[in-house]
Every structure is written in structure tokens, then in C-alpha cells.
Amino acid sequence: MPLFRLCLGLLAAMVTLPGAALALCDGADALPDHVIALVDRRAEPDPAAGRIATLAGPTLARLGLTPLYIDAAASLPDDLDMTRIAGVLSWFDGPVPRPDVLAEWMNANEAACGAALPTLVLGDAGGPALWQRLGTDGRRATILHDGAARSLTVQARWLGADAPLSVPPGPVDAPRLPPGATPLATLRGPDGLPRALGFETGTRTWVSDRIVRAADGRGALLWLADPDSLFSRLAPAGPHPVPDLSVAQGRRIGLAILDPDGWTRRGAATGLSSLGQPAHDLAADWAAAANGAPLSFAWPAPGALQADGPAGSAAQEAAGTLSALPGVWTLPLSEGGWLGDPDTPRLRVGSPATTPWDAPPRLDALEVRPLAGPPGFADPTGLHTRAATVTDTAAPTPVAPDVLLVRASDFLTFPGRSGASSALAQTTGPERTPMDATSYGEWLQTTRDTRILPEGPLRWRVTRPGGPGTLRIDDAGTLALDLSDSTGVLGARRFGASLFLALDPASTGAVISLAESRDSAAARFTPGDISLIEAGPRLSDLRRTACAVVVTISGSAPGSTRWSIAGEAPRARIDGAPVPMERDENGWQVDVPDSRAAPVTLEIDAGCAE
């Protein structure tokens, strides 16, 4: 029976969602979660530090896709599990050693898949056979361009957020448009004929890297084409759930990390000096002000700090004090793939992969670096500007959690302390779900193990190891969570065109069902239904009855929860005792107490039983 239902679901998905059907290879039992990332390791010896990882990786991670790096300059694997492959991405500077072999290998993969895989080719295709695979002749692709703006035509949706598209004068790869291809950007060639800077032909897309990004020459990297438009070609089309990396229980995740850079700077004040407090004491004060919100300290253990001289001893003592504070986690610097470079903060999440399939979704420099903020007037550490950058980012940010990285040396100045405090207040404030970095890393690991099986055009079965998690559905339109047909879900929240579904950490299997909603609500209700909108404290094991929910809250500082309730006179109880509820245009708010010592139970009754 389940098999029959699966077949029926897949058939329905193929009929109603051609894009989703396109991405499913023969034998696939779940939506694919990897893309083949072809790299030339002669040019980029470490793919994890290459262009795809740093520039495309974050967007791919947002789309629920992890790059599976394959070296085009070495022997190609012949035993790939194509059922997990969503598409193929390549980004070469020039020809690869055996382009004909690579083209044959790609064709064989498509044959094994049983469908044409979405393929995105950035820059040089890699050789004649690979250009021919795109339907064009790469040997005569390069032309001279005079830089004139009037000769450039671009589809509006390709314009990136950073700067309008322009192509400087000089040689540029611009092949003739293949017959039947759709141009994305064209350039008038020296012969007056149109040349393509990007085109789509069937499932294959080629884009010249001259229109992907530009180095400004003053240290800035600008996206010219829209990365979302580019990389979403590799994801299944149509509304479908993907694990989200930035939102937990309806709120953007906030990670606060203290880097030990400058930890022992400035010795303790004495009667003869006016040097002020040392960095470690100031950092301890800052951490205490977090009121138990999770903080991560970027060193393996207090004892591992270098402790030379009195300042070092004092620092060790302060680190011991910090570690004893509630909500404090230490963050291994040398294990688990975490890096904390003070100059170029980079966040890598998850353990080093033992096999390519083990690689978790990865967030890298692209998200974290802009959040560091440039120094400015009365803001030498850039923390004030960073806080403003985060505030102004569309909430929730489409790619990454809100990462606050503070160096201990930042505390040595008043503006640094002030900036760190305001940024911490923001990271742990009511708009965020504060999370310690270790838990976030574990969460991403569970994301890696999440499988999403289509059961119908708008219905999916989600299997996972449990733990917190969020699914996001982009371009949801008027679709909403159908509470009556879904299980293992705490609730839903809509941000812009996306629908965020909070999964129940106690559930290892969930069913997500969507239905058209007449209003803009994130969930479709029948009388008595109750759905979580947002919560700071951690909720789990939600049980629904006809007109009520019971949920357990544990391991969290005091905080608020907000609910959608299809009832006019709801009531709430915590551990059996009534608690007040406040209603505003966004729903019903219930404040919950500290649950770090012992779990508490929240019951909400919609009021329809009477």
C-alpha cells in the first residue's frame, strides 16, 4: 500500500510539477540534495576554498543543495548514486584535459538518471565537446567588445542586487546563440550580429563569467547577475520544501561567538596604573549581560588558552568564570571544522566530511564577512555598522543565520564595548532565536540526514533523525500549511513569498501538506486549530487534540511564544496554572518561564470545547 501510494504520488508530481519531476532520477525515493560540482583541481587545488564553495555554496545551501566536487582533470567516478543528484554545475577558466571524456561521462550520468539533468555552466565550458554539448561552437566564442552599454541587452531578472550589468571593453566569451536557445544576455558583436553572454537551451544554461561577478579593484566583489536566478536552475521547479538554515521556530537564528583574539591584552589595573580592565574581564561582563542566552566561545577549553605570566593566569581564571555562566558553550577551534580568523571571519559548519556525501550544508565567508562591518566614525571595530547591516537585512536573511563574531580585543575601547553590547542585544533579542554554535552545527548535521519524499503534488513525507529543524517553501504564493493533513509540525510563518515550517524536534517523521489559503495566513485553519508562529524557547513534542495543543518547553531562558488560534477565547496554562495571553494583529502571545532547570508544559485551549 505505501508503495502504491508512493507511485501514485510520484505520478501526480510528474503530472502537476514538471520541474520537480525533471529533477528526480530513476529509482529516487526522495528529492535530490546534491549537485555535481565540476572543478579543475589544477587551477583550484582545494575545491572547498574555490569559487563554487565560496561564491555559489551559500546559495546552493539555501536551496537545499550540497556540492559534490568532482575533479574534471582526474579520473571520473563511475559509481555515482544519481538518485541524489539534482543537477550539474561547472566553472572553468579554460579547457579541461579530456573534454570529450567528460562530455561522455556527463551523458552517461544522464542515461543512468533517466532524465536530462539541469546543467549550469559558468565561464568556459571546458573544451570543444563540452561547448558542443551546449549546442554552440566554443572555438569561435571569444570576441572583442568595445564596452558600449548600448550593445548590451539583458533580461531584467538577471540584474543583480549590487550593480547594473556592464561588460568592460576587451576579449569576452560570447558565442553565437544556439538555434532554439533563449538568450539571457546578448552583446552585439564586431560583425553586428548578436552574441550571447548567457543562454538557456533545454535544461542547460550557460553564462559567461564576465557577467557573473566583478572584482571592483578596490577590494570589493560585486555580483552582477543575480545568484538566486543562476543557481535556482539546479533546484527542482515549483513549490517544494527544502531544509532552511537560517530560521528556527519562526525566528531568525542568532549565533554569538567570542573569538579569543586579544584575550590577554592589557594587564589588570593596579594602584599605579590607569590602564583599565583587561580584555578578559570586559568580555566576562559582556557575557554575563546576555542573561543566559546561548553564547559560544571559540576555544576548545579554558585550560587550553596560553597562560604566560600574570595576565595569562588572570585570563584562565576569567575563562573558568565564563564557562560557569549559564548558556555558555565552548567552540573547538581545531576540531569540527570551525574556523575563527579575526581578519576574515569564516564560519564553517559541521565536521569534515569523510566521504563527499557526508558534507553538510556549508555557510562560508560570503555571509559572515559583510556582517563584520567596516570601521567608521566612532566605530573602529565596525560592530555598530555590523549590527545595522543585520537589522536592515530582509528578515529572515535568505541565506545565513545572524552571526555575531566579537574579538576579545574589541572590548578594549569604549566604542567596541558599546558596539558589542548593541550587537549582542540584537542577536539575543526578541526577533531572534539565540542558539549556541555547537547546537547549530548538530542541527545542520540533522539537515544533512533529512529526506523529503514527494507523496503528491503538494504533500511530502519528511524522514529525519529528529531534533529542531525548519523547512522552507519558496514561491509559496497563496499556499499555506494544511494543519488537518500535516503531522510533526509545530506551525508555520510566512516571510515575503516564502513559507517557513517549524518541525517538531520530537518527531522523526513528518508529513507536510499544503493547500490554498483564502487569506494570507501561513496555515489553513478549521475551527479549533492552533499553530505556532514564532518562539524563542525550544518547543517539542506537540500533541494536538480537537481544540487544544500541549507542548513541552525545555532548556531555555524565559521568552515569548506567538500562536495563531482559530478561536475567540483561548486560554493558556503552564504546568496546569493559568497564564495570561495577549492578542495583537499578529496573533496570541504567551510568555513562558525559565525551563533550563526543568521542562515546563504549555497547554493552549482554543476555547471551542465550551
Binding site: A74, G217, F377
Partner: protein, 417 residues
């Protein structure tokens, strides 16, 4: 009496002068206040400045705004700076600070406006660079173009010169070309990119004479080899005009012949490179080292071995061992047969890949094996290395090389490259 009166008058004048000087040199009372403020903790310093009556001295008002901003009160800091700007409009530091505050609010348009104000008050390279980047991010191409064209080219940074050329090219190729040529003449790390721009602009707008004059200068510089590659990559894309342009450039600067031939060969512009070889072939006497390198590079890239054969016949004694590699590449080891008189031990030790090919041809697999190992460590072309190594198939030595690759990265790179 007269003398006493004069003395008294002189003393009086001196007294008045010292008095005036003392009044004139009287320390500014604000200095004391500034020192006091600097010694106070920031919160107390701000409170003390807030408590002062009347308009503060400019430096104190600026400090007051800085303290407010440090404490996170951006709006108040901006208001204080606006009031200060009304009183002292000539200070560029005020709009720069207000631009920083605008950036904190995420208001890049306001920040650009303030930086433009600051730049108008006092031209500053750092302010101009920041303003240019903000304008580029905002997509205000016209304002960015005005900013960069209002400043003399020589005062711009290399990146700004390049950007100015790109912005001008969007509207007017002629002035962009003039700028690109002038900017390339100024040198710097952006020179190759500027030469590439200038070449493209000249060739697409039909101003070959400008390109020829500029190229003559580029090829006379110390970084001529790098610039020649930029020039050649553009010329390679217009083969019908590349040959006359290249010939004219070399007619004006014959000393750059080897550099340009090498660059044209590397760019694949063989049709433009070939006529440039003629003077070497027609000359008498031994070619110099740069000539050998250029002719060898041409033969290596194009597969046209005629010029190289001609030189080898004319001056075999001066030929470097590397000049024999193109024969191995295109004709295999048997291509070395006509030149076997040149294959002395000294030459073979210079070029291990030639040594390996020749040894394999002579059925000396042990020597070929040793030479291939040496070639792998000397950074040989992996494609050519593999061709030579294939000749050892069946001798057991190819298998030994493969086994060696497992533990020797240099040999592994030859098989993988």
C-alpha cells in the same frame, strides 16, 4: 632728560608689546577643557559636554558627536554634526563622519551624498574611493563617471583609472581609448588590464594608428613581456588586422620582436607572428638566446617547424636543447633523427624530455625512465611527458612510473595533468 624720556618711551613700548603678545599668545581655554574631557571616562565626558552652556568650540562639538555615536546614539550624533556643519561648513571631516553614520543606518544614498559633500570641500583619495564604490553599488553610473573624470588621471588610483576607462567606454570609445592609453603609460599593476582595454577600443573603433603608437611605447617598458600578452590577446581576435598592426609596431621598435612573437604565438595569432620571423631567417650569423626562445615558442604553439629547422641548419652549435622539443611533440622521437648530431650529452642533460624520447627511440628504456623521472621534477609539460612515457609501454618501466606516481606527487602530476 631727553635720554630718560626716550628710555621711558622705549620701556613703555616694550611693555605694551609684551602685553599684546601675552594677550595674543594666551592659551585657548578650550585646550584645557579638551584635556579634561580626554581624561574622563566616555560616559562622563559626554555628560560634561552636554552640560556646557552655549555653542561648543568646533573640536569639542565634534568630540561630543563622536561620544554620542560611540554610545550608539546615531541620530543625536548626526544632529550634533549637522549643527556643527552649519557653523563650520568648510571642515570635510564632518560630512565624512555623517556618511559613516548614514552607513550605520544602512542608508547608502545618504552616505554617498555626504561623501560627495566631503569630496567637494577637500579632495581626498580615500573619500573618493569610498564614494566611487558606493555609487557603483547604487548603480549611479553617471555620478561615478563624473566623479572619476573630474579628477586628473594621474591623481587616480590604478583601479579608479581602469574604472574610468570602463565607464567612458560605455558612452564614447574615442575618449575611453585616449584615457586607456594615457593611464597605461602611468604604469602600475593595472597596466595589463589597461592595455587590454586600449587594444580592444582601438581595434573596435578602427584607430589602429593610435594602437601602433601606444604599443611602441608599451614594448619599450620593463614590463613589456606582460603588456605584450595583453596586446596579443586582443590582436588574436582580429586576425586580418593583426599582421599589419604587429608589423608596424615592430618596424618602429625592432628590439621588441622576440617579445611580441612569443606573445602572439601564445595567443594563437600565428598569422601575425609568422611574418615577424622573416628577418631572423634572412639574417646571417648566430641567433641570440631570445631569438631561439621566440622561434621555439612559435614552433611549439603553431606546429609550424619550418622556421626552427631553418635556424637549426644555419646555426646548429648555438641551438639550446629546448629547441628540439617541438620535433618530439609533433613528429615523435623519430623527429629527432635529422638532428642527432646535436644530441650531445651536454644538451641531453639540459632537456630531460628530449633525453627520454631519444633514449626510448634507441631502445634504452632504463635511461628513458631516469630521464622521465628528472623531467617530472623539472616541470615538464604533462601532455608531452605522457606521450614520451607511452613509448615505454611493454618494457615494464611505464608500470614502474605508474607505481611511482602513488608516492611521488611530481610523477603523479604528470599522469593527472
Amino acid at each position: 632728560m631727553i635720554r630718560w624720556r626716550e628710555v621711558l618711551l622705549a620701556l613703555g613700548a616694550l611693555t605694551l608689546a609684551f602685553g599684546a603678545a601675552a594677550l595674543w599668545l594666551r592659551p585657548d581655554p578650550n585646550l584645557g577643557t579638551e584635556a579634561d574631557i580626554a581624561a574622563l571616562p566616555p560616559a562622563e565626558a559626554l555628560a560634561r559636554l552636554d552640560a556646557m552652556d552655549g555653542p561648543l568650540a568646533p573640536q569639542l562639538a565634534f568630540r561630543q558627536a563622536a561620544l554620542a555615536a560611540e554610545a550608539g546614539d546615531t541620530l543625536r550624533a548626526d544632529t550634533l554634526l549637522a549643527q556643527l556643519a552649519d557653523r563650520t561648513p568648510e571642515a570635510a571631516a564632518i560630512p565624512v563622519a555623517r556618511a559613516d553614520l548614514a552607513l550605520r543606518r544602512g542608508d547608502t544614498a545618504a552616505a554617498a551624498g555626504k561623501l560627495a559633500n566631503a569630496h567637494a570641500l577637500a579632495s581626498d583619495p580615500e573619500v573618493r574611493a569610498r564614494l566611487g564604490l558606493l555609487l557603483r553599488r547604487a548603480g549611479d553610473t553617471e555620478a561615478e563617471r563624473l566623479l572619476l573624470t573630474a579628477t586628473p588621471l594621474v591623481e587616480l588610483s590604478g583601479a579608479e583609472r581602469l574604472r574610468r576607462v570602463d565607464l567612458l567606454a560605455q558612452l564614447d570609445a574615442e575618449s575611453a581609448l585616449d584615457d586607456a592609453v594615457a593611464a597605461a603609460a602611468l604604469g602600475g599593476p593595472e597596466s595589463p588590464a589597461l592595455v587590454e582595454r586600449a587594444t580592444a577600443l582601438a581595434l573596435t573603433s578602427g584607430r589602429d594608428s593610435v594602437l601602433i603608437a601606444a604599443a611602441e611605447a608599451w614594448l619599450g617598458r620593463s614590463d613589456a613581456a606582460v603588456l605584450a600578452r595583453s596586446l596579443a590577446s586582443g590582436l588574436a581576435l582580429v586576425p586580418q588586422r593583426a599582421a599589419p598592426v604587429a608589423a608596424e609596431v615592430i618596424a618602429r621598435r625592432p628590439a621588441a620582436r622576440a617579445i611580441l612573437v612569443t606573445a602572439l604565438a601564445e595567443a594563437g595569432a600565428y598569422g601575425a607572428a609568422r611574418p615577424l620571423l622573416r628577418p631572423w631567417l634572412e639574417a646571417r650569423g648566430a641567433p641570440d638566446a631570445s631569438t631561439w626562445r621566440a622561434v621555439t615558442a612559435y614552433a611549439e604553439r603553431s606546429g609550424d617547424l619550418g622556421a626552427l629547422e631553418s635556424l637549426l641548419r644555419r646555426a646548429p652549435d648555438t641551438a639550446p636543447a629546448a629547441a628540439l622539443l617541438p620535433f618530439v611533440r609533433y613528429d615523435g622521437a623519430q623527429g629527432l633523427l635529422p638532428w642527432r648530431a646535436l644530441l650531445t650529452e651536454a644538451r641531453l642533460s639540459e632537456a630531460p624530455l628530449v633525453d627520454a624520447a631519444w633514449a626510448a627511440w634507441r631502445q634504452r628504456p632504463d635511461r628513458a625512465f631516469a630521464a622521465l623521472e628528472r623531467a617530472a621534477r623539472n616541470g615538464a609539460d604533462p601532455a608531452l611527458w605522457r606521450i614520451v612515457a607511452e613509448d615505454l609501454d611493454g618494457t615494464g618501466y611505464l608500470e614502474r612510473l605508474r607505481a611511482m606516481a602513488a608516492r611521488d606527487p611530481a610523477v603523479a602530476a604528470m599522469f593527472d595533468g
